[in-house]
């Protein structure tokens, strides 16, 4: 058994809070890039949000995008440099709020890019505001009485929504709240990159992740929140695979 830091993950401390799932997802993406031997031709596009410093942590080319625009930037890169492997790394605020238009249209066009979507049901970097994926009844600084159907509407289920389109080739929702889920997430990310390498089109992996700080929970309680609350609203599974 050998378990070491992947070469694509720089040996630096991250700014993430204790128990945050971003570090796990960063490592999994880096492991897949290492396994596939594509580091020298991989270009990532980073979001605005907690993962904004992705370029400090990944040892491959990363372009920082305007808020919500990684799929648009990735589209441009992939069309100009079709031999590169292009991925976006986005949170729920970036992908499902301000960047929803870019996400839907990139998926609908079947752009040959890979989207890594980290869903922690809240705006992390800005201090815990309600996100499109915040659960019903969940407290946030902008839904202090809990998210309600009348005032705020229900959580947006990105995989289910995109599965209605013909463009995407691979959509899967996974989590990083248990070791088994982490292994499954690595397989899903690998498969999403392989789809792109094979020229199949748009692939997206939604990762349910922990945000202990903005949920006002301990890391242990945050893991339980993902396992008990988030998975009930956002069921794990493959939504499209062709």
């Amino acid at each position: 058994m050998e378990f070491r830091r992947p070469k694509t993950l720089k040996n630096v401390l991250t700014h993430y809070c204790p128990g945050c799932g971003h570090g796990i997802v960063h490592r999994l993406v880096a492991e897949v890039i290492d396994e596939l031997g594509i580091r020298e031709r991989t270009i990532g596009t980073a979001p605005v949000g907690c993962a904004v410093f992705l370029y400090d942590y990944m040892n491959c080319d990363i372009i920082e995008c305007a808020h919500g625009r990684p799929p648009a930037v990735a589209t441009g890169i992939k069309r100009v440099l079709p031999d590169r492997i292009v991925f976006t790394y986005q949170g729920d605020g970036d992908l499902a709020a301000i960047g929803m238009a870019e996400t839907i249209h990139a998926a609908n066009r079947g752009e040959n890019i890979t989207v890594i979507f980290v869903n922690n049901a809240i705006y992390g970097m800005t201090g815990g505001q309600m996100a499109p994926t915040t659960l019903m009844g969940q407290w946030s600084t902008t839904s202090p009485a809990g998210r309600g159907q009348l005032g705020e509407g229900g959580p947006i289920k990105v995989c289910e929504m995109l599965s209605a389109l013909d463009g995407p080739c691979y959509l899967e929702r996974v989590a990083v709240s248990t070791p088994k889920d982490v292994l499954r997430t690595q397989k899903a990310i690998r498969k999403a990159f392989e789809k792109q390498i094979d020229g199949k089109g748009f692939s997206l992996v939604e990762v349910l992740s922990m945000c202990p700080t903005d949920w006002k929970l301990s890391p242990k309680e945050a893991v339980e929140f993902v396992n008990e609350k988030m998975k009930a609203v956002f069921p794990l599974g493959v939504f499209k695979d062709r």
């Binding site: 378990f3 070491r4 993950l9 204790p18 570090g23 982490v182 292994l183 893991v223």
Partner: protein, 81 residues
Amino acid sequence: MPQICFYAEHCKGCGLCVLVCPHQNIRMSEDLNEHGHPFAVLVDPARCTYCAMCGRMCPDMAIEIHEDAPSSQKDAKAATE
């Protein structure tokens, strides 16, 4: 012989490794590291099965498993506090 290495300086003390260790063989230190966090330490190296569940759940790459023995004194020290 595999070697499990805990890098105290990378640990933020979240305790996810403690939560998932199937042998309850990890605890948090009473001391703080240079960043002010308690850090994960192995309770009993002999009970570790090198399953790497702790490392896979660690968001900060503070735990590694090496197939060969650690090459430096620093690694050896990190492995057992």
